[in-house]
Amino acid sequence: MAKGPGHKVNRRELLALSAAIGTAGAAEALSRHDGLLGGPSRRYTNTLPWEDGLTDAPDAADAGGWHYLNDGEVGFLTAAVDRLIPPDPTGPSASEAGVVVFLDRQLAGDYGNGAHFFLEGPWQEGTESQGYQSRFTPAQFYRHSITAIEQAVGRSEKGKAFKDVPADKQDALLKQMESGDLKLEGPITSKAFFTMFLQNVLEGYFSDPIYGGNKDGAAWKMIGFPGAHYDYSEWVTAYNKPVPGEPVGLRGRPAWERG
């Protein structure tokens, strides 16, 4: 998946993957406000409660500062996400689109805390199809993984950090992570990290801009996705025509603002 020497990054492959993965990050953040996650169970009889003005509003990323990541992690992630999605004429790089901000906010929140994971033992090595198997929350998992990767990179690259090695070498390292060939000290495999990392990068690049990534809807413009429309029934019969207008996020689009 990473861009190797003599190999142009294939954006179509990324897009196909993103479609398969969906928007797990976004759904995760939304669930925070329903009061069910980690809270006592509730029973409703007769009718569901309703209160005017009460909203299950999404947990919007705020501007400025890092909530979870330290400087070294920001350096690693900024370099790594931009090898997965480098800038090109069709769209911004991952870091330009805010993916590192997205990752930081997700790791600082319920996703990073593993609020929806079962994190008790026994911790056995699962099968491939069983997905994430770790005693770590995703936030801990990122921290341990990046530390171990930087140690491995430092050993092979004369003490350099990942962000300071040449791009083709970064690509080679990412490929080793993808295959699991990059051996790390400790309980984490580079393959397990790469799997989660790639998924989160795609989520961040194509997420609603409200979560920090996909700045200005750039990724949606690139693929012609109209955004957070509730309903497409008006366009159902307009076959093979783009939906009109610029993409709209949960928080709107520039045309909402007085010029």
């Binding site: 569901l48 209160e51 003005g53 909402w256």
Partner: protein, 450 residues
């Protein structure tokens, strides 16, 4: 203390002048109270209320009287105000926001100490007809005795007979929160002198029996004017503006006259019946305060009476059309974008709506009220329709307060009020900010978070 209202002309004028002076001083204090005490509207039905209103009344010595009394109690929508959110049916204690303070509804159950269990039919008639409770205690006109005054003695007797069968709840409502001197009930003598004289219903022989039945219900037990008629500075209905619509508790009770834009001009009598029976028709859905009226009153009334109400309402002369300044082009442009992204899912392009489900906005009288309070409130807080026997499912509109800035709410409201043939005064961001504050709703996300 039993104070008889002064009936001599000189006495009435003196008391009236005193009352006006005092009340004018209190207006600003009253507005402040209103702002500080607004509670979120919760539309969960109070437990058990609907079954009390609908379960068959068993045969017995007074069964017919009690059944008639319950029907009249329903026609008067007594339950909506006299049942608090989690209270037992008719126990009272619901705080009503008025521009002058909060008044808590009375216990109407058969409890002898706090309710009407010890009341005589004469006392009950005096309360509804004259606005005077046992012991000469003057009632605040939040109890709409200016309407109930026309209810006949035989009907008040039936209502009391029914209320005496409502299980007693030993509960006393909180003390009203009025500033001095409104907290002195004798001050109401002045109000009554100015604004009220007890009277009976006189049928208009020139009109049909159906029209007269409608007039009796609308003007009397139905007390529609209590919300739908603009109020004077003293909180009394302005009779020459009857049914032209008014703001109430951060809603607008719409114009009910034949005005085709703001009123019921485009509704047929059958549309009105369908709305009152089911809570929905091709033009509008009932929610908020009107949702309660439909849920606990009109949806439980007979089609004959609903048709009579419709006949009377359709005879109201149209309110005058007010000139409406043209909206700014920039507001219409941003409003159009917000409408396209945020509203068309339910209300569809062109504001066509999905009649019976999501109200059309093209031609909507709710959208075109001169006072934009109701539109602003709907966008900011959302609402849920009242469930009825014929339309038992809920329809809800979500709150947009978290998402739209005051300017964005203003612009989309202006757009809806001035598109597809609609015309109504543009909405200003400051009006939105004021209602957002009164409703105690969250501030929207900042631009950085877009």
């Amino acid at each position: 203390m039993n104070i008889a209202p002064p009936r001599s002309l000189g006495g009435r004028i003196l008391v009236a002048i005193a009352a006006v002076v005092v009340l004018l001083i209190l207006i600003s204090a009253g507005s402040w109270l209103w702002l500080k005490t607004t509670q979120p509207i919760v539309s969960d039905p109070p437990p058990g209320l609907l079954s009390v209103l609908t379960e068959p009344i068993p045969d017995g010595p007074n069964a017919d009287l009690i059944r008639r009394g319950r029907y009249l109690t329903i026609a008067g929508d007594c339950a909506s105000c006299h049942t608090s959110r989690n209270g037992r049916p008719f126990q009272g204690g619901l705080g009503l926001q008025t521009p002058f303070g909060i008044i808590y509804s009375a216990n109407l159950t058969s409890d002898r100490e706090n309710g009407i269990g010890a009341w005589t039919p004469e006392q009950f008639f005096r309360a509804l007809h004259d606005g005077v409770a046992p012991g000469g205690k003057h009632l605040y006109p939040a109890l709409p005795y200016p309407h109930f005054t026309i209810v006949s003695r035989s009907e008040t007797d039936a209502i009391l007979a029914y209320l005496k069968t409502v299980p007693a709840v030993h509960y006393a409502q909180p003390a009203n929160r009025f500033p001095f001197p409104l907290n002195i009930r004798a001050s109401l003598i002045g109000w009554d002198a100015l604004e009220f004289s007890p009277h009976s219903f006189h049928a208009n022989p020139a009109m049909s029996p159906q029209w007269n039945r409608g007039a009796y219900l609308v003007e009397g037990l139905g007390h529609c004017g209590a919300c739908h008629t603009p109020k004077s500075i003293l909180g009394a209905e302005i009779h020459d503006q009857a049914y032209r619509g008014a703001a109430i508790e951060n809603w607008v009770a719409p114009d009910l006259t034949a005005n085709p834009r703001t009123g019921l001009g485009r509704w047929s009598a059958a549309d009105i019946v369908q709305y009152l029976r089911s809570g929905r028709n091709a033009h509008a859905n009932a929610s908020g305060l009107m949702g309660e009226v439909v849920a606990y009153s009109t949806s439980l009334m007979s089609d004959t009476d609903l048709s009579a109400i419709a006949t009377y309402l359709k005879s109201l002369p149209p309110s005058p059309s007010h000139p409406s300044p043209a909206p700014e082009a920039s507001a219409m442009r941003t409003g159009s974008a917000i409408f396209f992204d945020g509203c068309t899912a339910c209300h569809l392009g062109g504001g066509r709506g999905q009649p019976g489900m999501f109200p059309p906005l093209q031609g909507s009288s709710v959208a075109q009220q001169n006072d934009p309070t109701g539109v602003i409130r709907l966008i900011l807080a959302g609402t849920r329709t009242a469930p009825t026997r014929t339309r038992p499912s809920f329809q809800s509109m979500p709150s947009f307060a978290w998402k739209l800035s005051d300017q964005e709410v203003a612009d989309v409201a202006t757009y809806v009020r001035n598109s597809w043939g609609n015309r109504a005064p543009p909405v200003d961001a400051h009006e939105v900010a004021a209602i957002r504050s009164k409703l105690n709703l969250t501030h929207p996300l900042t631009r950085d978070q877009r």
